[in-house]
Symmetry: C2
Subunit: 372 residues, 2 copies
């Protein structure tokens, strides 16, 4: 029944008084559902299909936390319609931000990650330390050159190599040739070192081509995939996370900044990356680390990490991947702060090592492994 099965969302609403917050909250309850003036909402819709305020609490800074419940049935069992309920028309109003959501009633709709932290640890046979990760780049190199880079990183002992998210299917390194060349080069390195290095190519593409690349990646022996959910669409992430054979999914935040940078609008970074993307199937989420080129604070990063690993969310805990602004000589500091259930993504700083990528990778790896 629509009204016996509801999920709740905590919105932060800018308002001077609780009365004002309640008025805005009530408007939200209708805007996201019936979207009609109150006097013409049919009775049966009013009783079973509107949002409902459950609780209001005041916080500092002229805002309130307003908890609103919606009928699960209103999603129609579809992620797309769920997103519309959560943040459809109200995305076009100022002063409303999504903080949290209770996924328990939605576990039929959103099925969560298939691997998560434990699954990726099993895959890499690394039970209890942070993981190292780097990116193949830049766009413009050909697939043989990228394969050579991957070989050197793998010889150095890196745990995980992903495509730069700017590598798609451009002429110098088309997807199929790149995945063949890189998986081959990494296998060769692993045969020499005896150490497993995983490869996650970027499958982000247009429309159904994303699924095709997923299948090709699996066929060619990739260990996982990289997706930009904000570009493929979030329901594509969710659908890929149910595709066969199962491969872990690393998510990249390109194109998503507008949702998380405004303190009074959109979503918190912790909710967006650590809760929503996790629920929709991400096994690991890249986010822009504090202290680098991007806008997040250390506190926001810690909140993302916490949400990725939280046991209060009814899906497998996932790896946070702080990236951007991590240098070879600051990695220790970040490891202490973020803890072992973290994948550290270091790109540019490895490429800058005066003694080459192999040495850079080995030094990075030594620091990562010392932590145990």
């Amino acid at each position: 029944m629509a009204d016996s099965n509801r999920f709740s969302v905590i919105y932060q609403i800018q308002a001077d008084t609780e009365k004002e917050a309640r008025r805005i909250g009530n408007e939200l309850c209708i805007e996201q559902t019936a979207e009609l003036p109150e006097d013409v909402i049919p009775d049966k819709v009013r009783h079973s299909f509107l949002g409902e305020i459950q609780q209001i609490s005041s916080i500092p800074a002229g805002a309130f936390h307003v908890t609103v419940s919606f009928p699960v049935a209103e999603t129609g069992g579809e992620v797309s319609q769920f997103l519309n309920l959560l943040n459809g028309n109200i995305s076009l109003k100022r002063g409303i931000r999504i903080l949290d959501l209770d996924w328990q009633p939605l576990t039929d709709l959103a099925t969560g990650p298939r691997f998560g932290i434990s699954g990726i640890r099993n895959l890499l046979e690394i039970p209890n330390r942070p993981l190292s990760c780097t990116a193949l780049k830049p766009v413009g190199l050909n697939f043989a050159e990228l394969a050579d880079l991957s070989h050197r990183f793998a010889i150095g002992g890196i745990d995980l190599i992903k495509d730069d998210h700017g590598l798609s299917n451009q002429e110098p390194a088309p997807f199929v040739e790149r995945v063949k060349a890189v998986t081959g080069a990494i296998r060769k390195a692993s045969n020499k070192t005896g150490k497993k290095t995983a490869y996650f190519p970027n499958i982000t593409a247009d429309g159904i081509e994303t699924w095709r690349r997923y299948e090709i990646a699996a066929d060619l022996g990739a260990d996982g995939v990289l997706i930009i959910p904000q570009i493929t669409g979030l329901s594509t992430l969710h659908s890929i996370a149910k595709s066969h054979p199962p491969l872990p999914i690393m998510c990249h935040p390109a194109f998503s900044g507008s949702y998380v940078l405004d303190g009074q609008h959109g979503c918190t970074p912790a909710f967006y990356y650590g809760s929503l993307w996790r629920a929709l199937g991400a096994d690991a989420v890249i986010y822009p680390n504090a202290g680098g080129r991007f806008a997040f604070t250390k506190e926001e990063c810690l909140e993302i990490n916490g949400r990725c690993r939280s046991k209060d969310i009814p899906f497998k805990p996932i790896f946070p991947i702080p990236a951007g602004g991590i240098q070879r000589d600051t990695i220790k500091k970040w490891m202490e702060l973020y803890g072992q259930d973290t994948i550290f993504l270091v790109g540019g700083s490895l490429y800058q090592h005066p003694n080459g990528l192999e040495t850079a990778a080995r030094e990075f790896q030594n620091q990562i492994e010392e932590d145990v």
Copy 2:
């Protein structure tokens, strides 16, 4: 060749001085492409794959217009990678907003709308007046009830009926049953009145299901479709706009507000709805009208209208659809302001008419037709 074929984007960059704007612009040129420290970018990439500042001009309010060109080849012929070039990592930095883009070099990548204003006018046989539109709602009614509403609107003479974007495939009105019932009801009304009314069902769904609904809509005789591009993913919009048989596409802005509400970040509403969505195949775009429940100003609305119809963009002009806040008794004012190449979407105010939907629709239609 990558460097003989470039497209340019105008970014608004917050900066105190031109020097500072140039520094941020140069960072953007690398962030969006090589994404490496400058000293380790390979020469061949530096010459052919980086963004390049073409021009900087100052504007009031501590900001600059910085025109940056990118190689067309860097898109790899894919909308997804084009979006990443345009607004990938930089979406995660504050103080950068997209104002405009020169589509001419990208007409192989983005193919634009198939119908546009002239195609929709041909379809409806209305050569030269504004069009009337209303929405079937609310979610929670069953398909027979929605079909009954559509019949009454069509008897009243409305030009175009779309699904509320909150109608997807929920139990009371599943997609197939709804499209069958509504197309049937509208056909019956048209047979009585002799006047054509078009129906655009909402095909927004998860992953490949969106394409399936497009095909079903076409098979069942729908005249066009409604899509929420920000939920399906923008490349899905573009791919649907190349599907067969051709049907006009109306786009809904749900979930997209975060991209357009911040005056110093994301995109201008005119660029996002009137230029980007048009390039990706929208034949008509709904936007939240000024003076209603949403945040846009009248000036922003006029800019969206202008961009939708602009001859400077190498794609067919498309219909702007102001919605929200248009009342039965204010429609005249908006018609004078926005002109005849506009679809006016009136929802709630028709449902509130004391004499019922048929009368409401007829009065609305009379006002629309008087304008000629």
